[in-house]
């Protein structure tokens, strides 16, 4: 019985499913503030205050939140208000004064940590 329990436990570990994901590919087409279940709940929206290219850290002007851009962070240019297609962006697009929405890694609302994705508002 104990052996069976161990086998089942081992099987559970081996077959342990990966964590559930929100789909990333279509996320880039969702305008800032419109991500279902995320915007206004676990994301932060506001203007960028500072950008540190060395540490890849961005902060808001009041210091309420800061986010680290990692190799996994997806950056998108939200051009939907100009009726233009959204595009992938780069760290260079993170410029002080630009309005962004930041989703941190994980499911919880945080004030700092690695960003899962950042949407940058581009008006023209």
């Amino acid at each position: 019985m104990r052996t069976m329990t161990l086998i089942v436990a081992a099987l559970a570990v081996i077959l342990a499913p990966s964590g559930a994901y929100g789909q990333k590919s279509t996320e880039m087409f969702i305008p800032i503030g419109k991500s279902p279940g995320l915007s206004g709940k676990v994301t932060y929206m506001g203007k960028i205050g500072t950008v540190d290219a060395e540490t890849k850290l961005i902060t808001d002007p009041a210091g309420d939140w800061k986010a680290t851009v990692t190799a996994k962070t997806q950056i998108w240019l939200d051009r939907s208000s100009a009726k233009l297609p959204n595009r992938e962006g780069t760290f260079a697009d993170l410029v002080p004064g630009r309005f962004v929405e930041v989703k941190y890694e994980g499911k919880e609302r945080k004030r700092s940590g690695p960003a899962e994705w950042i949407k940058i508002e581009v008006r023209s």
Binding site: S18, P36, N86
Partner: protein, 460 residues
């Protein structure tokens, strides 16, 4: 004196034009009649969100290319697509939008493969290289969602469990679907190529999807009457033989590893199957890497109760029959996969799954009977609900369920007397549908024949 072999244009043209005009009128009449017929629908619900969700699901295009959720999830075909159903659709159906919309001609769908294998195109790993970076997947039915998508990590939607954007919930699913499948152009600009669903609409769509099909899993074993299906059920439940119940507890979508039972993802090696139909066509079909970006090779576990009438099977529609789907677990693709090796590792003899042909057919027979029992349950519920202004549409859905039950049993050579009862039920339901207004005493007759059929499949 020889006669001219061709008519003079002045004499022939009016006749040809009249004939062409007649054909056009006839086609228009057929199209109008087809569109005015009641479309099959699931039973009504008292919840206003469900009713609103139903209308959105089948009618709302979100200002896109004309598709609705029902384009790929038609109620009359178990909320899924297969090549036979696709062949019945008119060429103007929005499903084929890539065939008649220039802006969607390239890289939106693979129309030939859609028609042959009922696969649709998805850009799950990004939209950066549309010509090469895509997957082709079958359409999962949306029945029994309430009991099929929950996991400790959150809901698992779609074939790889990551079908929804945002928070990944079932509620958010429609947002991703609109962006991927409803767009007018590949630019996919909200407000131009489509509009995104509102919060209220997402609530309604979620309520509707949760209302569809079973609300609980069966409690196995069932007291089945057929010897082959009964043996199939034993094999299914035997953790040392079929081992099916490990990942499909009670033939549902939840894994059974001793603790909480939840929906899970596994790499079962389907992508490693040789001779996959879509690839045999010579078309370029990129490997599907499953959950995440880059993918981890795992795919979501679907419920099995509805399997027998919702083929083709697996995420890429690679197997046509339920017998073939069961036999897949005997093969090298599964037994060499991470899931197959783990299963073998837990076996005292190091065996993954090894069934003989009679055992494969027995498990498939069990799944066929299980599916027919669910069809009968759903049909009976629909017949009871076939009242009021939507009676015709509900009756059509009941007819579809009755026909499915007969088809899945006949396909396995199972319970011919029950099939005969189901055909009688079908005839009575057809009579009820022909009445104006639809309904009347034939509904009761149809239900009585359903009960007779059900009693031949298992004890209560």
């Amino acid at each position: 004196m020889s006669q001219p072999t061709t008519s003079l244009p002045s004499a022939g043209f009016p006749r040809t034009a009249a004939l062409a005009a007649g054909v056009v009128v006839l086609i228009l009449v057929i199209v109008i009649l087809f569109q005015s017929l009641p479309r099959p629908e699931p039973p009504p619900s008292g919840d206003p969100r469900v009713e609103r969700g139903r209308r959105l699901f089948f009618e709302e295009t979100f200002e896109g290319n004309g598709r609705t959720c029902g384009s790929c999830h038609p109620a009359e075909n178990n909320f899924t697509l297969d090549p036979a159903f696709i062949a019945t659709l008119p060429p103007t159906d929005p499903l084929f939008v890539a065939e008649f919309t220039p802006a969607l001609k390239d890289n939106f769908e693979k129309p030939d493969l859609m028609r042959k294998f009922a696969v649709i195109l998805e850009n799950l790993d990004g939209f950066g290289d549309l010509g090469n970076q895509f997957v082709l997947r079958g359409i999962p039915h949306v029945l029994a969602q309430r009991i099929s998508v929950q996991s400790p990590q959150g809901p698992r939607t779609g074939w790889s469990g990551d079908g929804s954007p945002g928070d990944g919930s079932l509620r958010s699913f429609a947002v991703g679907a609109v962006i991927q499948h409803f767009t007018k152009r590949l630019d996919r600009v909200p407000g131009v190529d489509f509009r995104l669903p509102t919060d209220d609409e997402l609530d309604a769509l979620e309520a509707f999807m949760l209302s569809l099909g079973r609300q609980e899993d069966p409690k196995l074993p069932l007291p089945l009457k057929g010897e082959v299906a009964r043996r199939g059920q034993e094999i299914f439940l035997d953790d040392a033989l079929g081992k099916c119940n490990r990942c499909h507890q009670n033939a549902g979508a939840n894994a059974n590893f001793g603790g909480a039972n939840n929906n899970a993802n596994f790499n079962t090696g389907v992508e490693d199957l040789p001779d996959q139909p879509a690839r045999l066509s010579g078309a370029v079909v990129p490997r599907d890497d499953g959950l995440g970006t880059p993918g981890d090779g795992t795919f979501n576990t679907p419920p099995l109760v509805e399997a027998a009438d919702t083929g083709p099977f697996f995420h890429n529609n690679s197997i046509e029959t339920i017998e073939g789907a069961v036999a897949f677990y005997n093969g090298q693709a599964f037994n060499n996969s991470p899931a197959g090796r783990a299963l073998a590792g837990s076996d005292p003899n190091g065996v993954g799954i090894r069934l003989d042909a009679t055992q494969v057919v027995a498990v498939a027979a069990f799944l066929r009977v299980l599916n027919a029992i669910e069809n009968i349950r759903e049909a009976d519920a629909l017949l009871q609900a076939a009242l009021g202004s939507r009676a015709g549409a509900i009756l059509k859905q009941a007819l579809a369920e009755i026909r499915d039950a007969a088809r899945v049993l006949e396909g396995g050579g199972l319970h011919p007397q029950a099939v005969d009862d189901l055909r009688q039920a079908e005839r009575e339901a057809e009579k009820a549908l022909r009445k104006r207004p639809p309904g009347g005493p034939h509904l009761g007759e149809a239900r009585a024949f359903l009960a007779k059929a059900r009693s031949k499949l298992s004890d209560p």
